[in-house]
Symmetry: C2
Subunit: 217 residues, 2 copies
């Protein structure tokens, strides 16, 4: 099974882009700051851009992530993930089903799937997902049409029962990330907490410190 790369010290952060939350900074500048701060997993998730622009941005991100030894995941758009030679593609429950995505991307590309329940986690495994998103752990306003928080209970279930690598996501901030880690998450995905920080490098350091604080305690 393909695994997400990571820092490997138990403080893996998975950053998602979102132009609307980036304080007016272009996605490439935000990505440079994230990669410079040591982020090694980056998901391009931009909901309101046209495909032509998304492809351009993804190609630029591909160069940046490759140079940094980081993993690039593209949200939803399998065609764009293929064209920019991303490491992976991430889909939700209402997007293209994992086996269909697999038909398009072949055996080597990482496929991530958002899950919100034990049933969905089991189905993700059966469908051949390489990792699952587990969330939203906390309330979040980043994503439209998001489901109610799954709470730490679902995270506990995944830790105990799912063989798949997973990424905890949804409303995770520096003030609550230690709880998420204490419940068994090794990789946490953040959006506004990172891309919305005035000083991204400082914020990444802060989040990582918070993650270590109780995660290893």
């Amino acid at each position: 099974m393909k695994r997400l790369p990571g820092v490997g010290d138990g403080t893996d952060l998975y950053a998602l882009t979102d132009d609307a939350l980036s304080l007016g900074r272009p996605v490439l500048d935000v990505a440079k700051a994230l990669l410079g701060a040591g982020i090694r997993i980056l998901q391009y998730r931009e909901k309101d851009k046209k495909a032509g622009r998304m492809l351009e941005e993804c190609r630029a991100l591909r160069e940046l992530t490759r140079a940094a030894g980081a993993c690039l995941i593209v949200n939803d758009h399998v065609d764009i993930a293929l064209l920019c030679e991303a490491d992976g593609v991430h889909v939700g429950q209402d997007d293209l089903p994992v086996p269909e995505v697999r038909r398009l991307v072949g055996p080597d590309m990482i496929i991530g799937l958002s899950t919100h329940s034990p049933e969905q986690a089991r189905a993700a495994e059966a469908a051949g997902a390489d990792y699952i998103g587990v969330g939203p752990i906390y309330p979040t306003q980043t994503k439209k049409d998001v489901c109610a928080p799954v709470t730490l209970d679902y995270l506990d279930w995944v830790v105990a029962n799912s063989p798949l690598p997973f990424v905890a996501i949804g409303g995770i901030k520096r003030h609550n990330i230690a709880d998420v880690v204490a419940h068994g998450a090794r990789c946490c995905a953040l959006v506004s907490e990172l891309v919305g920080a005035p000083d991204i490098a400082a914020r990444v350091a802060e989040v990582r410190a918070a993650m270590r604080g109780r995660g290893q305690g």
Copy 2:
């Protein structure tokens, strides 16, 4: 060069789906009515649906169009076009560029490109588009972010100068289609005029009669 199939009697109609304009009828019912009325080119264009649902609908449309000997074109979503084995994919100026689409779909799938100027028509030819959309001929409210009407002048230019098959589109109705045909269009694309008709078969017949009326005069 791959060409759009058609009735071949100078009254080719190219129908586009749009759930929001279909008077509450499901897209599959609308498609059945269109195909039953003799439509032989159908583009699936649904802007507000999730990819999973779009794939399901496109697969059902693929069966219907295949049984009817009709051509199925998918708007924008190259991944879905590939998965449902569509005959073609149609992109706009801000979508994935034609050469990129070609890389994904191979040599056999039809690629259509919306154009709004002689420069774009020339670029479409150079990029390897199989046909171009020419429009919007008239004002239209079907598409968001649409450009100003190109008027019949651009259509005249295409008829005189472009070697590519083309489809006139944008605000074409039964009351003006004869003018479009008189200016040289053999294939006209309609959205609300067809899918928004209470009796789709009757409307197709009416539009076709109008198209013949001055088109052959």
